[in-house]
Point group: C2
Chain length 393, copies 2
Amino acid sequence: MKDFNFYAPTEVVFGANSEEKVASLIKHYGGHKVLVHYGGQSAVKSGLLDKVCGLLSDGGVEAVKLGGVVPNPRLSKVKEGIEICRKEGIDFILAVGGGSVIDSAKAIAYGVPYEGDVWDFYVGKAQAEVCLPVACVLTIPAAGSEMSEASVITNEDGDVKLGYSNNISRPKFAIMNPCRTFTLPPYQTAAGVTDIMMHTMERYFNPDCDMTITDEIAEALMRTMKECVFAVLKNPEDYRNRAQIMWAGSLAHNDVTGDRGNGDWATHQIEHELSGLFDVTHGAGLAAVWPSWARYVYKENVSRFVRFAVNVMGVPNDFTDPEGTALKGIEAMERFYHAIGMPINIHELIGREVTDEEIKEMVRKCSRNYTITQGKFKALKPEDIEAIYRIAK
Amino acid sequence: MKDFNFYAPTEVVFGANSEEKVASLIKHYGGHKVLVHYGGQSAVKSGLLDKVCGLLSDGGVEAVKLGGVVPNPRLSKVKEGIEICRKEGIDFILAVGGGSVIDSAKAIAYGVPYEGDVWDFYVGKAQAEVCLPVACVLTIPAAGSEMSEASVITNEDGDVKLGYSNNISRPKFAIMNPCRTFTLPPYQTAAGVTDIMMHTMERYFNPDCDMTITDEIAEALMRTMKECVFAVLKNPEDYRNRAQIMWAGSLAHNDVTGDRGNGDWATHQIEHELSGLFDVTHGAGLAAVWPSWARYVYKENVSRFVRFAVNVMGVPNDFTDPEGTALKGIEAMERFYHAIGMPINIHELIGREVTDEEIKEMVRKCSRNYTITQGKFKALKPEDIEAIYRIAK
């Protein structure tokens, strides 16, 4: 059994109207002047941004706004944020939005006290020692960034999408009001649940597979997400199931369902190049990659895929044919993706076949110029990554 | 669905030899001079105490030792610790032991900066605003105190056992080395698992019962504990199952399996008076109480007890007889307790029947002189508490 660290210090404040506590929480965590960071669509339209800014003002917390974060958040916006924070003497960053906004907020938080280029952290040139405190008002359950140490940023200069993980950026608090997710469109809802499940699947398909309690918790989370997503697609204002999805988004990525460091993550890495190149929704990209990854690697540990098929996907266990059972689990996942409106290959994701040149470019980036492997369940060499893109195309 | 807060900031450092990191962790969390707090039996005999003190010395952390904590830790020892910390200028408390030692360490941590009597916090006369930082090297998986905000102390003056909960005392880090639990005797091992399962059961039997994901995670934990305990009773050096029990001890009490504030806790409160009066092992006391509590309250929500019977205890669901299924679940739990050497009533716990006078005294204390009810699944008045003691006697 692998050693592990578990560290999830974020205070989760969960419930209808939980945003009412935003000013007192910021003050509790030492903030005086806040950058309110957001995207620009739902947070504005829903009135949440105005509400949060009003609550801050009423609570005596000074705020400067910076919107315009896009999915696959851009380095240029991060740098804009860093400049504003320095100029305005900001000491706390509040993300109002989903994973992209929180990831952008973390990057700004790293950059403010750092003399060099914040991109240094993402390319591995430097380690952040300090950062501004970050917190969030979550509006999209998906990325799990609200409790995680991870931030993924896209550098437009070369379309490079890279992640940086550091415990110091874990949000101080995360305000989660399930009502704020009622207006999420079906596609974003389904992509979010896909992302949530995948954060647990990446951990579940690990090279050791020897913690029954963690496996059972992971299976519990994946099974319940399958139920909850259909309930909220049918009734978007189903508070209880919106709440379960929102909470699962954090649990799936705070290491309760497995140690992040021991997980596979190849599907995420392969997808990063897809969404970097085609700017697709991350969760949908994951659905487009996973079945091909699964078919390519399942023979590494058939019994793990059998367990997944039976305990998560509800496939009857055919003891005479473990490989058949394993494959039926992958097929069941494809049917699930289709049922919630997700793609199961790149063609369905981007509306055309990906070209040979595009595949080669993604393989090159995914393998960092053919220097590294991806994944732990099976360590994928560049040729393996290419094979998976071809199966998925 | 109830709103909730989730806050589990303790850094868990889990694995064989994890104690090697003790000095660097203390320095990371700002400690310079440490009170090493312990019981006196296993930590000394096993060499762990000497090892920890050596590691602290090698790491340049000054340490003062205070042993002698007993199960159901005493207020007099807490006061001794407070005096030492003040005299020695100690700024960090490291508990080396199980729940009793950690609870005692938290009480000392509250007391050092407080001008009044530390017992004020436990009787509700005052709220602690600050405390010294606490951390632990865990040796007994049971109480969950290594990640929790709770501390239970017994005041010898009147034999009053009371708990105080405050987020500021949550340990900064918890070092968990499953090898350190290999020498736990079978009775302590079984009582520990009983306590772990009960922390989840207290949450599972709540008045709302409406979070499928939390229920499934809770059931996963309880099911796996039932397996793991038999494995380690058979082979005390089974690392994997010792590790699962150790990690479950934290998960069961860090609110992943349910919000503490929404749980029932009547069994704990009823047991507190038992272990206060007879100084029995807390986990064994819980086993002696729970079946009687369950029989007394199950009609409040039969379907919850049916779910427990089927999903945790593996009882076949007789759809024609929900009450029968519920009762079979309670009986199955009694058989499980017996199988791991735990009592199922007070007679088995203390070796004799409890007297009428003793019951009356426990009812009086448990109901705080007949002023409060206990429990949320069913709010128990003094006469209900008395009835349960009588069923359990």
